[in-house]
Point group: C2
């Protein structure tokens, strides 16, 4: 339904002229009372009506016995009636011309069975009347700036710049409660519920364009229409950060895998590749969700990767330097000589003036101020983590004040960590008053800074123009048709090699033969030593069944190998369609073996996998993922995200044709885009020499 | 000094008959006043004296102008005088027969220069009089159970079972402050300071035998005498858990590396291997240090690895299941049919009765009680993480009560996570009152549970008897002597292969030759195809300089290769001592290449490294570390800690001689133990076939 519907006019949700609560109640414990009260007290600019069968005035709000009675057009109807009557009431709202429904009740899809049917019925009714639906099974919706509180959340949260998009009501309340204790304010709060109609994809453009929102916090349990999500989120993250927690990382991989790529690539890898592509900062825990939000909302982005640490205790400073060194995108800053000699002058002899800067245990607020200001003034420093441990001379609150002052003066992000308990609590509270984030362990600050640095890097890179699908190469279409004609769902070795050759991916000269004498003749033609491999569209893992014989030096060996392969193939795979064997030259050693694979994710489209190749690929698991389409820069970066890919640039005097590898990876991406029939593709290995790269084994699986 | 000293009688520290504060002061802001006050008010059983030049009575404590004046033998003297006079005062204490000094002042080794000298002087004086010294530059020492507070920590911490061993005073105060806010109590608190004399190794036996201590929390910036530490900590962890935070993970690797093993193995890898060997739970951040301590101190150990999750919000339950799946040593428990059908009966229709058990958003305390009790009663469940988000019907404090009750009744560890802010705070406080740990994010609870499960696993495994050093094999001694005679610090390829052969590690039949005709003759003898490799003790990475030619099919190719290798070797390494080349057979393909290496760590002794081998070993970096000596079980486990090692047990129809690989690794361990002259050893690759394993390239570096 989502992708068909026109972009909804959500301005009616944020600034409705008229809102009705259907199921309003005089009982203060009932949802229908709480929602009405929240709307009435939130500061709603438009008119408000209550709908209650008995028609008695509730909370001094004009009340009617049915929605049809409301004397003006209703923009938004909040349904607080039980699930059982929701379809009927939705029908009445549709007839009355309501534009948007917010359905609070649970008892739909999440129940299965009758609940599923009920949700389908609700969707049908909404579509019939052209109404949009938020929910069901949701908390509702809040806009602190327009004064709309169409939710049963206890009270209007404080105004601020964080927008929350939560698929779970429970996480929604936890987020609001957490923020209440840190003083963080909100712009919009959207509880998506079951997403019967409106999804995250409908709200992302509104949040992108909302001047009151500077950070988007999203908690999503599934992604509706992955490809549309990537498009919408990519647009949003160009103008503001989006932080996402999505459960279900480890669910995947339960289904049997046919290829190496299949075994390596779970649906969460596809999702992660999509989030990376869209510039979304992924939180891996509730803690990271909160920490990232706090850091992004309360500090500027770093302009570079170099982090200075200021501490009154040496050990935690070193722990933090460890964390910074290990964090993606961060470096321990090297302070300038000028800064160091300035610090040397103002700090006591026992102080450490290199980074981490140790102002020593007896530091009062003044020493923090001097040191932090000097460090932040250094051009080599892009951000700072400030550590405080409570000691005899420590001025907890005043230190919080001077940190806030220095941070504000510098315009650089400063993340304070006050380690301890009761003694440091007032300092943390003071930091929050100053609008600074605070952390109880430096590791948390570093992880948040790493996310900020990665986002800053994403923003500073030029936007890449990626080519979409083209007409698939004719030979590929023909080979797929042939496979379909013979009821195969896979292209055999020769056919697969031919198919990728049309996209410029080279293979060693290979001759397919059906009998033993032809095998020897082919070997002579190619030149000894040769390799023999089983040629059958029914056999994927040739080595596993004894279908590969390498390094055959002469005719005799080839003939013996042919017989053995045939025997092994027939033994292991009854009823297999065996074409014969392929004969190919032994490749010179010294190349570097990559796996280059692709898998079509049902939600996000083709996902590429690249990394260490060969038969131990699953054991070694040195791979990285990327969505198609890709640019050359995408692929170059993708390679550096694997250990083996980094060595492509050359290692210990060996040279590799990185450009050939990049071209092959781009070709795989293009093939997947062009040809939706292909669900999985494996080049394993793609052997990269100092000149050229060859796929030694190619597999293509069809849908 | 430490290793020479006899085991100190620390009972004098915990239960002194007589304590003197040297430098006691009438000024309440001075250390000499605070320490005296703490001792006086802490509940000290023995007598207490103040030493002050003016001899005026301070705090109603008998005061003398010098230590010699104290009318009874002084067990412990706490020196609160400035660093400059410490040596002089220490001398007076020595003459007066003081047994142990606690030196508070900073201004020693940590300052460098004069400070270093001063610390050496202090050590000399202590040794001269047979006095033991705690510090200098420390907070002092506390025993809450004997009433000794010989520190300047503000007040006596609450009694409890956690012992703290901290090298940093600042971390010490932060730990005490943190604990004060969680209600955690302490047994002993030891601030080690500069460790001029007494180190962690002196205190570990005391903590091991202290009935009042159930958990040891250690913060150590360096390890004094690593081998002694492993022995002492191993004994301690057999009876109680030890949690350690040690900064400096990433310092290492700055020195140039000669071998693959050298490049792969930093000093923090050695330390990590030592901590693993000793059964220590390593915290990677201040947060983990606190979380582990809280979990270990407040919940029983799990009897197995299966974790049940109970939650009132589906999403966080799934996030937690992700965390459990990814955590070392933990599994998501599969509830029994009985438990599930019982839950089905008592929970509402929308509830999820599989694990994670979702009691749904409107759950009150009662529903938590029913669900948690049922889950904990299931034999398939060893521990539980309970998640609460604050919703309309949530009973935060009562839920804390029922969790505590269910946990206590079950005897299983239960780790509660109340997600949110102000609303859930009273629940967290209530949990602390019940003596339960609590967490603000499930991920923290899971990491703590993982540490507990790993420790339980460590305890349940039989204690392994490991063989120490033996007499080195004669041929190894001879080869080393020959290398020394020719001023080499490395054994060349042939010599290294011969050396490890004495320990049972096989190499392909290899012939060393010095000229081109001998090379061809050797190749014929071995049988074509062959490999030629440069033979020189001065060339480590043969491939890098073009010193390896593979797959040579005939005499002509061998002769050509010989010439090329000689040319390359001379070009790349001037003045190299080139013996010629080695001729060896090409190995059949199909084996699995491991690296088996060892490096002698100056603190912890020989460290083994095992994992993915070959020329891309540093890129792929699929390796694990272990201390020598090792048992067969140690090595089998070591292998499973790498991706490639796991496949040794067989993969996709391929078989490997795991036992041959294990024997080779044990042999390397034994060689390193036997022969202290060897500082680094590389078998790379050790190629493991279906029968047998061969080192294709062996390197031995001498000290």
């Amino acid at each position: 339904m989502n992708s068909q519907s026109p972009a909804p006019d959500l301005s009616r949700l944020w600034s409705p002229k008229c809102v009705a609560v259907v199921g309003a109640s005089t009982n203060p414990a009932k949802l229908g009372h709480i929602v009405l009260k929240n709307l009435r007290e939130g500061g709603l600019k438009g008119s408000l009506y209550a709908i209650n069968p008995k028609g008695r005035r509730i909370l001094d709000v004009p009340t009617y016995s049915e929605i049809a009675g409301v004397p003006e057009p209703v923009d938004v109807a909040v349904l607080t009636v039980p699930a059982e009557v929701v379809p009927e009431v939705a029908g009445q709202c549709g007839q009355a011309g309501v534009k948007v429904l917010i359905v609070i009740a649970a008892g739909f899809q999440e129940l299965g069975g009758a609940g599923l049917e009920r949700e389908a019925e609700l969707s049908d009714i909404a579509q019939q009347y052209g109404m949009r639906v938020l929910g069901p099974n949701c908390l509702g919706l809040i806009d602190t700036h327009t004064g709309v509180n169409a939710s049963f959340v206890s009270a209007m949260p404080p105004k601020g710049s964080v927008a929350v998009l939560s698929q779970s009501g429970a996480m929604g309340t936890a987020i609001l409660d957490w923020a209440s204790s840190t003083g963080l304010g909100f712009s919009k709060f959207i509880s998506l519920g079951n997403k019967a109609d409106l999804t995250e994809n409908d709200f992302l453009p509104a949040l992108e364009n909302d001047a009151k929102t500077s950070v988007v916090l999203a908690y999503l349990e599934d992604i509706s229409d992955g490809e549309a999500f990537v498009v919408a989120a990519s647009k949003l993250t160009r103008v503001k950060p989006m932080i996402l927690l999505k459960p279900g990382r480890t669910e995947a991989g339960a289904t049997a895998a046919h290829s190496h790529t299949g075994a390596l690539t779970g649906s969460s890898d596809a999702a992660d590749a999509a989030f990376r592509r869209a510039g979304i900062m992924v939180a891996r825990s509730v803690q990271e969700l909160f920490d990232f939000t706090s850091a992004f909302a309360r500090t500027p982005l770093p302009k570079g990767d170099n982090i200075a640490i200021v501490t009154n205790a040496g050990g935690p400073g070193v722990v933090t330097a460890d964390d910074v060194s290990e964090a993606e995108g961060l470096e321990v800053a090297e302070l300038s000589d000028k800064t160091e000699s300035m610090l040397r002058k103002v700090l006591p002899a026992a102080a450490q003036v290199g980074n981490p800067v140790d102002v020593v245990g007896d530091a009062g607020a003044n020493r923090y101020q001097v040191a932090l200001s000097a460090v932040l003034a250094d051009r080599a420093v892009d951000a700072s983590v400030v550590i405080l441990t409570p000691q005899a001379m420590t001025e907890v609150e005043t230190t919080a004040d001077v940190i806030a002052k220095a941070a504000s003066a510098s315009g650089k992000p400063v993340l304070p960590c006050f380690i301890g308990g009761n003694t440091v609590m007032p300092g943390r509270a003071r930091l929050a008053e100053h609008g600074l984030p605070s952390f109880d362990s430096p590791s948390r600050a570093v992880v948040a800074l790493s996310a900020m640095a990665q986002y800053a890097h994403y923003l500073s890179a030029p936007v890449r123009k990626r080519n979409g699908a083209a007409t698939p190469k004719a030979i590929l279409v023909k080979l797929i048709a042939e496979a379909r004609d013979t009821e195969h769902t896979e292209l055999g070795g020769m056919a697969a090699a031919e198919a990728v050759a049309a996209y410029g991916i080279k293979a060693p000269p290979t001759i397919a033969v059906a009998d033993v004498d032809d095998a020897a003749a082919a070997a002579q033609k190619i030149g000894y030593p040769v390799a023999l491999k089983i040629d059958s569209p029914d056999i994927s893992h040739k080595t596993d069944i004894g279908g590969v014989m390498l390094d055959l030096p002469n005719d005799e060996a080839v003939k013996k190998a042919f017989a053995e392969i045939m025997k092994a193939a027939k033994k292991h795979t009854k009823d297999a369609d065996i074409h014969g064997v392929t004969v190919s030259p032994m490749q010179p050693t010294g190349g570097l073996d990559l796996i280059v694979g692709a898998k079509r994710d049902p939600n996000f489209g083709p996902v590429l996998v690249v990394g260490y190749g060969g038969i131990f690929v699953e054991a070694v698991r040195d791979v990285a993922y990327e969505l198609a389409p890709v640019t050359k820069d995408d692929v170059t970066e993708l390679l550096t995200r694997t250990g083996i890919g980094e060595t492509l640039a050359g290692t210990r005097g060996m040279k590799f044709d990185q450009s050939a590898a990049v071209k092959a990876i781009m070709a795989v991406s293009q093939l997947m885009l062009d040809c939706p029939d292909v669900v999985e593709l494996d080049l394993n290995p793609l052997r990269v020499f100092d000149k050229g790269a060859f796929s030694l084994d190619t597999r293509i699986e069809l849908c």
